[in-house]
């Protein structure tokens, strides 16, 4: 091969490389900074379905409605940094499951909290990332969540780096959260509620992302957490041996989650498939499986429609029963439906319409939970299992 033949090929290669380098930042495997400032706002309505009146032993069967407003702003900062701010504000109102008791036939029936509960929550999260020329990202985040009766502060750090061939990237991280709860009416109407309690949690994470080909990438990550402190629900009671007691859980909890995510582009039909799986286990003996599948279908240049499906199944905590006929030696009791055995199915549809720098988004999700959906057999379903609808609309703007 002569020099004269090499030069055109080299120019073509340079042109292709330049074109490839001008593509939007690829955020899956490479720790690459997004060079565009963006702002997104979103409003959502979360609506829990009424309970079956045959399984409720109180006047109200209504549950929570929550209105949510969200804001996210992100931008590059200087030559090496980027910053992101996430804000969420929620107002919630409705009734909540209080305790479960047996009816005349021994079947569990739900008793709801008597009065309507009104609360609001503000959640702030600020993240700063530094990107190095070698393809390493270091992100630090600090956040706070505030409610009338609850305060949570959190810190997080994540480091991501990639191999020389830019096919594999690695992530390690850690997070710490400190929470304080001051239950309402603890000193007046409900003296058995604690006045103030706290808990801390520590999370460690390690993950690997691997490009499998020009259209496929996979990521797997393992996270381990330890929660220490008051882990009970002060607003729930438990029916034990014809008496009512406070919900009482262990004051420590080890949890582990193994998450694997696959992204595959089907360019011939203009679609991308997302397949996620999470295996979760903890020392309260809860084991769960979560599988979700989303199909991002482009319709022309401006529209993407995304149907999605999520399946979830969990086993129960070792100290859970709908109600207790006898006392336990360890004095641990909970009838919380969230610690009961069940399965759940979410069916959703999302859409996005893009005008130049502005996008409109909308989505609807329907969540249904049932003992019948669980992977294992459920002998007695908790009557407080929740079904909900989540509606959202939003705007995104890229500067």
């Amino acid at each position: 091969m002569t020099d004269s033949k090499q030069r055109p090929a080299s120019k073509a290669l340079q042109a292709l490389t330049a074109a490839a380098m001008s593509l939007p930042a690829y955020q899956v495997a490479a720790a690459t900074r997004d060079e565009t400032a963006r702002v997104s706002v979103r409003t959502a309505l979360y609506d829990e379905a009424e309970l079956d009146s045959r399984q409720v032993s109180s006047t109200t069967t209504e549950r929570y409605d929550i209105e949510i407003g969200q804001l996210r702003a992100s931008a590059p900062l200087g030559e090496r940094f980027s910053v992101a701010l996430d804000v969420a504000y929620e107002t919630m109102s409705g009734a909540s499951p209080w305790f479960v008791q047996p009816d005349a036939d021994g079947a569990p029936v739900q008793v709801m909290s008597g009065a309507t509960i009104d609360d609001a929550r503000t959640d702030l999260l600020l993240s700063v990332s530094r990107y190095s020329a070698s393809g390493r990202r270091v992100s630090v985040s600090v956040g706070q969540s505030t409610e009338d009766d609850y305060e949570s502060q959190n810190l997080g750090i994540e480091v991501e780096w990639e191999d020389d061939d830019k096919m594999t990237s690695y992530t390690v991280g850690g997070g710490y959260a400190s929470d304080t709860i001051t239950p309402t009416d603890a000193q007046t109407r409900f003296p058995s509620r604690p006045d103030e309690e706290d808990k801390q949690s520590l999370t460690l994470l390690g993950g690997v992302s691997q490009i499998l080909g020009p259209k496929t990438v996979v990521q797997t990550a393992l996270s381990v957490s330890y929660l220490d402190g008051y882990l009970s629900d002060p607003y729930k009671l438990v029916f034990v041996d014809d008496d009512l007691r406070q919900d009482a859980r262990p004051d420590g909890r080890w949890t582990g989650a193994w998450t694997t995510r696959l992204r595959r582009r089907f360019s011939s039909v203009g679609a991308t498939a997302h397949l996620d799986y999470r295996l979760y286990g903890d020392d309260w003996e809860v084991v769960s499986h979560t599988v979700s599948l989303s199909w991002y279908q482009d319709i022309g240049e401006r529209v993407t429609v995304t149907p999605n499906l999520r399946y979830y199944s969990q086993s129960q905590a070792f100290f859970y029963r709908p109600y207790f006929r006898t006392t336990r030696d360890d004095n641990l009791y909970s009838s919380d439906y969230r610690l009961s055995p069940y399965g759940a199915l979410t069916i959703g549809l999302a859409g996005e319409y893009r005008f130049d720098s502005l996008s409109l988004t909308g989505s609807i999700e329907q969540y249904e939970s049932s003992g019948d959906y669980a992977l294992g057999s459920v002998v007695t379903e908790n009557p407080g299992l929740v079904d909900f609808t989540l509606l959202a609309v939003g705007l995104k703007y890229a500067f």
Binding site: A20, R121, S127, I211, S225
Partner: protein, 74 residues
């Protein structure tokens, strides 16, 4: 339950082992990977809200990133 767990673990192990032998891609072969829908979370606000709702209503928690804290909802 155990059989399903074992099956999933085996499938993931095979998938990851096969991933280690992939041929490095040239920059111009990465166009599809740069599609916005190929991100782990194409809509961060939607992902945050979904995670928060599931964290509030289910016993499981934890995923592929850290950051964020607790709330009185769980």
């Amino acid at each position: 339950m155990k059989q399903i767990t074992r099956l999933v673990l085996s499938a993931l192990t095979i998938c990851l082992c096969s991933a280690c032998s992939t041929t490095p891609l040239k920059p111009w072969e990465r166009g599809h990977l740069a599609e916005p829908t190929m991100s782990w979370e194409p809509d961060p606000l939607a992902s945050q809200l979904d995670s928060h709702v599931y964290f509030s209503k289910e016993a499981s928690t934890g995923g592929a990133s850290v950051g964020g804290g607790g709330c009185g909802c769980n």
